[in-house]
Amino acid sequence: MFIGQDELEAVKVSPVLLCIVYYVSNQISLLFTYSFMNSFHLNHAPTEYDVVIVGSGAGGGMAAYTLAKAGAKVLLLEAGGYFDPADPKYITQLKWPYESPRRGAGTTRAFGDFDAAWGGWDIEGEPYTTVKGTEFHWFRSRMLGGRTNHWGRISLRFAPDDFRRKSMTGVGEDWPIGYNDISPFYDRVDKLIGVFGSKEGMESEPDGYFLPPPKPRLHELMIRKGARSIGVPVIPSRLSILTKAINDERGACFYCNQCGRACQAYADFSSSSVLVKPALKTGNVTLVNGAMVREVTTDPATGLATGVNYIDKATMDDVKIKAKVVMLAASTGETARLLLNSKSSRFPQGLANSSGVVGKYINDSTGASRSAFIPALMDRKRYNEDGVGGMHVFTPWWLDNKKLDFPRGYHIEYWGGMGMPAYGFGWGVEAMNGMIAARDGSMKAGGGYGAGLKDDFRRFYGAYVGMAGRGEPVPLESNYCEIDPSVVDKYGIPVLRFNYKWGDYEIRQAKHMQDTFEEIIHSMGGIALGSKPDASNNYGLAEPGKIIHEVGTVRMGNDPKNSVLNKFQQAHDVKNLFVVDAAAFPSQGDKNVTWTILAASMRTSEYLFDQVKKKNI
């Protein structure tokens, strides 16, 4: 039932189809240039761009790709450096732990020495603050492609209900659009970028155009068997990794399990290699790296955006850019920061903020986890089970919230198996080996040394699993980011101050996750590790920001009084200003948000094209 794949194949092999694709895109591109020229009647100095895009992550990369293909002259400004996972200068893929003096420890990179993220929770010279008694952790990647170079590639569509949770439950907010508005774009993103998965026909987890999913690993088969026995579904995961090649630019996955290091074959999705590079090839995009945008400029007479000012990080020069349209894709936090910092007499509360909503309703996924030891997996046969860079199966949300004491769902991600040893290997064995009988059946105290300890490491290798819930929170007005009145970064730009606290719904959801984790672990004969998180620690609910799915600071809606953008992610107050990252999303479903960022950015970019054509912009 994998229609998607057939179509992808067709695109790959059929020269006729290719011609049509090229023909259509050429027509569009001519039209676009023509319309832009006509609708603005401005002098075409080479320094005025049709569109300036701020940020090259998922949202910005897709906008640059879509607009460049349509023929717009695009300036792509990226605060971080250039990155190409196929250039030996940047490659960490297939390196061994002993090629790192810290054996892969996360001293300078949060997710380990080989991870493809430049930046992290803290960036030298670029602080952020939190209001006392609240918490927020902000992960930023400063590089071409943003956080998509090392993201988990979990690529899920929102379901119809995810767009109307307020109508269904009375809390939160509905989207101004529904599944039918966005599903054609999901379809095109599936085909353009590639995602594997399986058709399941679940209303709450819509199917797409899928490449074949990889077979589950041993521990994943055990999880599946156990979880299903207690009524928890387990299905193939959906990751944007090419289990089959889809074009000549990108190779197929060779199963190294290291997508987090970014793939030199371009077999996984990164905005940098899959969107920005082809966009640059059109000749329509000018990319500037090291460009830290500090404000969006406006014309005091018309109130329209006129461009942006950025700081060239290498020279510290302040550079002024003129553009007919400004698109923000600097990430949920940075986009809000930019608007709030773009104050003028006409926009005293910050740009596009007559509603006062910019910065409010920030919300991150909930997260809680538990790991386990599986005695049946001790002393297992060795073979290469690296697989793709992520889980091969997962659990979509399966229950009815009407019957629960919290209004939103979560999905479960799994890990385990015979992975490449890295810093932290063997850590804490003293809490483990006292629980497990030795080969002769005798028990010993936890800890030890010598030949017996070495034997324990061999027996235990590959016998651990873990699971983590990723859930939907209810967005709250009382959770917000704002400009800190007293702190600036090293570029002199005022920084964000966060104010975020979890509510009771999220804490109850985490409790439910913990109960479920234990049931799954027991269903597969496992021993849950550590003590079960409880009320004293919010049931292990991760601090806000830690799951790195923040959305909602510049939300879209139909009412300009409580939303910033219209249903096309165009500012109510400034018609040539668009937001194409997750700042625009009123909520985030129990799905990771990036596939929706991509689909929505494509939709907004085409809407812009259409508006220019109709001379509305």
């Binding site: 002993y98 074949p212 077979k215 041993l218 089970e385």
Partner: protein
């Protein structure tokens, strides 16, 4: 150099001051040594690594103690070599500099070991007989059994065990020992049949037949 020349020019022509005080106030930055940035590293990381490599944390005596302890934790056996043969002491040395929070527990722990072995046997730990070393290690190697007065040693020994295990199993020798056979381009075709059979598991129809 340029900056310095400018300052010189200003000081001489503009203010008629002597050159020396201005130079002293704004010393020219040392000419940076050209550093080759290894693939996959950011510049600041390469510089940081080079700087850490140039520093020394352990005294020779401390390093010797670390070596003896790590080989007690991971000795050579029929399958693989010992911790020190896999380069573990050098890894631990690096981690002390890379994550300085390790320094006091490590240095203090090594001192604790010597203090205790002197009290028990009249010698530094490394100068004790093998039997004496093991007698002391036995009192700190099992945290739950550690007696009063030995619990600090047990914490230290756990730290040593963690670092030793991580260092050993991330070395070439340790990876071979543990039997990790990945990190090479390959085709994943699922769990081998004999393994499926061993665990009484099977793939679903669509997984065997292939997804259309």
């Amino acid at each position: 150099m340029k900056r310095r020349d400018t300052l010189k020019a200003i000081s001489l022509t503009g203010f008629g001051l002597a050159v020396t005080p201005v130079e002293a106030a704004v010393p020219a930055p040392p000419t940076p040594k050209p550093l080759k940035i290894p693939g996959g590293r950011q510049k600041f990381e390469a510089e940081r690594d080079a700087k850490l490599m140039g520093e020394k944390f352990f005294t020779p005596h401390e390093l010797q103690t670390v070596t003896v302890l790590s080989d007690i934790i991971i000795p050579a056996d029929a399958k693989s070599g010992s911790a020190s043969q896999a380069g573990v002491p050098a890894f631990i040395e690096f981690m002390m500099k890379d994550q300085p929070g390790n320094q006091t527990p490590m240095r203090g722990g090594l001192r604790w070991i010597d203090n205790t072995s002197k009290r028990l046997f009249g010698n530094d730990f490394v100068a004790c007989t093998k039997a004496q070393q093991i007698e002391l290690v036995d009192q700190i190697a099992y945290p739950k059994l550690a007696k009063t007065g030995m619990t600090q040693g047990a914490s230290f020994f756990s730290m040593m065990r963690n670092l030793t295990a991580s260092g050993f199993y991330t070395s070439k020798m340790g990876i071979e020992d543990i039997g990790y056979v990945g990190n090479v381009p390959n085709q994943w075709n699922g769990v081998p049949n004999d393994v499926l059979k061993q665990y009484g598991l099977a793939y679903e129809e669509r997984e065997i037949a292939g997804y259309e």
